[in-house]
């Protein structure tokens, strides 16, 4: 089959235009934030970075997962997250400000301040015991390891998936991917968990939660699924992905529903055990977030990140309805922003504070993300045309 490249379609042109606008506005906003307050700039940067880095890395995981389980239904859909994964170069380069902060400014990662570890007025006993893990050298090495894992995953799995497009008879790339994806999924789980610990959880270095990695994963996964749903619905509406049927919508909808519940389950489990255990070193996270006006974001998450998508996606008709999928998808992406704000921002402000800095930070990365997506769309086929499971996916009945 011929590759399906939609480089000059109105869809790509529109996406490019909007992404460039968002990129421009975001860059201006971030520059302004940096001009007024370097710390605030770094917070907004981190928020936007985590949002889209999470989607990129989970997209690679999604693709690997389809190879790992020999999934038939998703052959038609799988190329969309693989195109999202093209944001990876920015994800890798984007780690630099965090490393710079750890070594020099300590505005984001306050544990990196060396004065906490010398006996004196700033000495922090708790952090001193964690110093062998939380120190700039090891932090940099760990980020390097994650970057390497992600880079290798991209080259080996996603690269191979693209390679399959070139041959209609030789299925070696797919076959190799089925083997490779097993260790890659394992490495992915480790790298995303530890990246969550390092980049986000260590913002509050006194606090720890062993569930944080999976909490971080769950939010990213459900937002990635939502973005995939939005893309396939739009691409089909524009007449590009003709093989996508209501059955694919249904399956993606089921996935979104399942991971909405999963996110809730994980989030609640973390909160529940901390609430019940009532240990000071664990409760400080929620004391900050359950008092003052940050708590409104907490309630917003219970209703917006759980009840609204749960009830909407409960019925079969809604999961098969493209308009509903787009609506719920956008809503989940919005709630994911609230979720990450709820995790990250209270570390820097005891009262509710989401300003233009955070929004433009998000816009900057959104613009960059979708611009990279249009660059991918210029050369990549949006259908994995020679995937051996494509026929099965086209005939899908769920």
């Amino acid at each position: 089959m011929n590759t399906v490249i939609i480089a000059d379609s109105s869809f790509v042109q529109k996406l490019r235009m909007y992404s460039l606008i968002a990129l421009g506005v975001g860059a201006l906003g971030l520059a302004g934030a940096a001009f007024f307050d370097m710390g605030r700039f770094l917070q907004a940067y981190l928020l936007g970075y985590i949002y889209f880095a999470g989607i990129t890395i989970v997209s690679m995981f999604f693709s690997s997962l389809q190879f790992l389980v020999n999934a038939g239904w998703s052959a038609m859909v799988r190329r969309i997250p693989e195109i999202f994964a093209g944001f990876l170069p920015v994800v890798l380069i984007g780690l630099i400000p965090m490393i710079v902060d750890v070594w020099f400014s300590h505005k984001l990662y306050h544990w990196a301040d060396p004065s906490l570890y010398v006996p004196g007025p700033h000495f922090d006993e708790v952090l001193a015991t964690k110093h062998s893990f939380l120190n700039p050298t090891f932090f940099t090495i760990r980020l390097g390891i994650y970057a390497l894992i992600w880079f290798v995953t991209y080259r080996l799995i996603i690269g191979n998936s693209f390679k399959q497009d070139e041959s209609t008879t030789d299925y070696t790339p797919t076959r190799v991917n089925m083997k490779r994806s097993a260790p890659m999924v394992l490495l992915f789980a480790m790298s995303l968990t530890f990246a969550g610990f390092d980049l986000v959880m260590s913002l509050d270095p006194h606090w720890f939660s062993t569930m944080f990695g999976v909490y971080f994963f769950a939010g990213n996964f459900v937002s990635t699924l939502s973005l995939i749903a939005i893309f396939i619905v739009n691409l089909r509406r524009q007449g590009h992905l003709k093989g996508i049927t209501d059955e694919h919508y249904h399956d993606i909808g089921k996935f979104m529903f399942a991971f909405t519940v999963f996110w809730t389950y994980i989030t609640f489990s973390q909160y529940f055990l901390i609430w019940y255990g009532n240990l000071p070193e664990e409760t400080l996270f929620f004391i900050l977030r359950a008092h003052g006006n940050w708590q409104f974001l907490g309630y917003a998450l219970v209703f917006g990140h759980f009840i609204v998508p749960f009830v909407t996606l409960l019925t079969q008709n809604n999961k098969r309805n493209p308009a509903v999928l787009i609506g719920v998808g956008c809503w989940i992406l919005f709630m994911h922003f609230i979720d990450l704000s709820f995790i990250i921002l209270p570390n820097f402000s005891p009262t509710l504070r989401i300003g233009w800095q955070e929004i433009t930070g998000w816009l900057f990365f959104a613009g960059l993300f979708f611009f990279m997506v249009t660059r991918q769309l210029a050369t990549r086929s949006i259908v994995a045309v020679n995937d051996p499971y494509l026929k099965e996916s086209l005939e899908l009945v769920s």
Binding site: F268, Y271, F272, W275, Y276, N278, V397
Partner: protein, 187 residues
Amino acid sequence: MSTLAQGNVIAVMGDFKDPNKVTAAAKGIHEAGFTKFDIHTPYPVHGLEKAMGMPKTSLPKFALAGALFGLASAFALQWWTGAYEYKLNIGGKPLFAPQFGTPVFFELTVLCTGLTVFFTMFGYLCRLPNWHSKYQYDAGFQAATDDNFCVVLEADDPRFTTETAQALLAKLGAADVRVVHEAIEQD
């Protein structure tokens, strides 16, 4: 030993040997306007219920009712026992709080949903247990547990006459189209 005597006409049956052909035939019967007909197959055939034009199952409504009942009972149970009837202070925790209530909310919701679905589906919608079918003496019907796809046009259908039903099944390519009479046991 009892013997069987023939009663009224209860159905017209026809046999198929191929799941795709029986699905096509189901579509044909549905389009001809029959509503009371059934197809007995050796294994579940995908898409058959759509071809037959069967309405969507009402099971989800029962499931939702079961879920809400479970949720409400979990709430009532914990609130009534813990905060109303026999107040116990455990570790300084509130007498009732949604935080510790949630696992029980979840469990009872799932339990009640599961039991409701089980009993509604098998006991009400599938009418089990049912030890007897009025077609059970027909050899083709019996073979539906082996390799036969047996189409049954029931005499209750408003469009049913023996001739139209026979003609329809013959047109759709059924083998061994036969009129089935009620079997009456005699001593």
